[in-house]
């Protein structure tokens, strides 16, 4: 039976820059998927694009292409990614520019667009689409002026179209992570887009590998069992036309692929396991059968699913004030009490200066005592040192700048043993908040465009 090898070399924007190169060079793969977009990444790209219309895509991807383009063309390894961000055409121009510099030609690059609905928000809301926040139920209209990006999660169809047209590289904006694996399967095996079990199999394959090393030993509970984590192999799915697949990694790499490492990733960011809703189908995670077929080989079978919903998920971002965080290290006897006194001192001096923050908009953490798991992990009674971390959130930027000025003085005018103030005064940062919503599928899909051009 024909199998197709699909790797994932990038779990998020900021993941290892060497991982996709190692994955490409470490053995045979047919496709390389790369995820560059987190929930608010598109908002950051919007800022960049406003300053310079030629930007707005993931520049890490261009650096990757510069390193490997001749090999991709020679071996015909096809790359699917969402690095196009808000400007996939700009990203394609840059890829062509790099190809020209390297003297590489005779390959095609596809662009899938139509995910960016920000320019249409006014029209959509006027047309009766509330775009209500999925977490709070509030309609978008009152905050629409503060929206900095709004993109639909596209499914696999546009990518499959680009692959059908011969694209070696497919640049998308907000295509869903799982489509990076489903699309090459649907393309290679000619799957029907209404074969819900196959769509679900491809979606689950995508879910397993979308976070890179998280299914090959990264972030694994029994970390002490994982060999050579420093050289962890990024995942590969060996897919078959019947919808079964094997999760594996290149020989000679570190990490491990076991039923346990794959199970942990299957449950990552999971809601209701009976209904994993994506743009292409509704997958049933309770149908999945896992078997250890050999060392670093887990067979996945039995997957079933249901028809896609009439909606696509929208990921929007909007400005929600400012935040600032600062920290000090407090060392020596009675470190916890000294850190508490330091925090109290900062709030009182701010108050004396007329700067008061709402209680719910302030945070004080004692890292090393109980910052992450208060009430759960047993806190030490008298640790030798504590990292005091303070944070504030407010609509008024000036108040946050004032907060930033009250941290350093503690070194000389606070309790003894206070150090670790480095990197200057904490600066106010804009808070870009996340707004998840649903939109009728046809409002987006009618606008999806695919174009394939040759270098």
């Amino acid at each position: 039976m024909k199998t197709v090898r699909i790797g994932n070399g990038q779990g998020f924007w900021g993941d290892s820059v060497d991982a996709p190169v190692e994955l490409l060079r470490g053995g045979e793969i047919d496709y390389l998927g790369m995820d560059y977009l987190a929930e608010v990444t598109l908002s950051i790209m919007m800022r960049q694009k406003l300053k310079n219309p030629e930007t707005g895509y993931a520049t890490d991807f261009i650096q990757f292409i510069r390193r490997v383009l001749p090999e991709l063309v020679e071996r015909n390894v096809r790359v699917i990614c969402n690095a196009g961000g808000l400007n996939p055409h700009g990203a394609r121009s840059k890829v062509f520019e790099v190809a020209h510099e390297l003297g590489v030609s005779g390959f095609k690059v596809g662009v899938v667009e139509g995910d960016d609905i920000q320019p249409r928000l006014g029209e959509l809301i006027a047309g009766g689409h509330e775009l209500a926040n999925m977490d709070t139920g509030e309609p978008m209209a009152p905050i629409v002026d503060r929206v900095t990006s709004a993109n639909a999660y596209l499914g696999a169809r546009g990518v499959v179209d680009a692959l059908d047209q011969g694209a070696l590289i497919v640049l998308c904006g907000r295509v869903t992570d799982t489509a990076l694996a489903l699309a090459p399967m649907a393309h290679e095996f000619g799957w029907d887009f209404e074969d819900w079990d196959r769509m679900s199999a491809g979606t689950i394959a995508g879910h397993i590998i979308e976070c890179g090393a998280q299914c090959t030993g990264g972030n694994f509970s029994r970390w002490w069992e994982v060999p050579d984590l420093w050289n962890v192999g990024y995942p590969i799915v060996e897919a078959s036309s019947d919808g079964t697949f094997v999760v594996t990694k290149h020989e000679g790499t570190g990490g491990m692929v076991t039923v346990d490492t794959v199970s942990e990733q299957l449950l990552y960011e999971m809601g209701n396991p009976n209904e994993y809703i994506g743009p292409d189908c509704v997958a049933d995670f309770t149908s999945i059968q896992l078997d250890q077929e050999g060392p670093d080989r887990v067979r996945v079978s039995g997957i079933t699913g249901k028809p896609r919903t009439p909606f696509l998920k929208i990921s929007a971002s909007y400005l929600e004030g400012f935040k600032a965080t600062g920290q000090l290290t407090v060392s020596g006897p009675r470190a916890i009490e000294k850190a508490q006194l330091a925090a109290e001192t900062i709030w009182k001096r701010l108050e004396r200066g007329g700067v008061v923050f709402e209680e719910s908009q302030k945070t004080v953490e004692l890292v090393g005592v109980n910052a992450c798991l208060p009430g759960i992990a047993e806190a030490p009674q008298d640790p030798p040192e504590v990292l005091l971390r303070l944070g504030v959130h407010d609509a008024n930027r000036d108040k946050l700048a004032r907060f930033g000025k009250e941290i350093a003085p503690l070194v000389t005018s606070g309790p003894p043993g206070v150090t670790g103030f480095a990197g200057g005064r904490p600066k106010p940062q804009e808070v870009v908040a996340y707004w998840p919503a649903l939109l009728a599928r046809e409002e987006v899909e009618d606008h999806v465009r695919v174009s394939v051009e040759e270098a």
Binding site: S263, L267, Y268, E269, Q289, G375, I376, A433
Partner: protein
């Protein structure tokens, strides 16, 4: 005898809106039954009482010997709004593994 979950199970967590999810996977099908009977949504809520300000929902995933918990309102606002060090609930899986349950003395531990 009483054991901590990390002796008989493993877990992973991440963010889910303004809450987190924790997937808890038993090491064997027999242990899954013990965990399913004892690690209720109410017990997890009590365990995370200083972290999770909302409800705890529980789903069963028997084919993976697993339970999935949603800890609503547990990230101090979630995502980029949160001021917490662990704004994405990445540590909640490790936190759940410190919960104690009762297993039979002849049981695997």
């Amino acid at each position: 005898m009483r054991v901590r979950l990390y002796q008989i199970a493993h877990a992973r967590s991440g963010d889910k809106g303004d809450g987190s999810n924790v997937g808890l996977i038993a090491n064997t099908p027999e242990l899954y039954e013990l965990i399913r009977d004892q690690v209720t949504a109410a017990r997890v809520k009590e365990h995370f009482r200083e972290v999770c300000m909302g409800e705890v929902e529980r789903f069963e995933v028997p084919n993976l010997n697993a339970l999935n918990f949603i800890l609503h309102d547990s990230l101090g606002g979630g995502g980029t709004e949160s001021l917490k060090t662990d704004a994405q609930g990445k540590t909640h899986g490790q936190g759940l593994l410190s919960l104690e349950i009762e297993i039979p003395d002849e049981g695997e531990a």
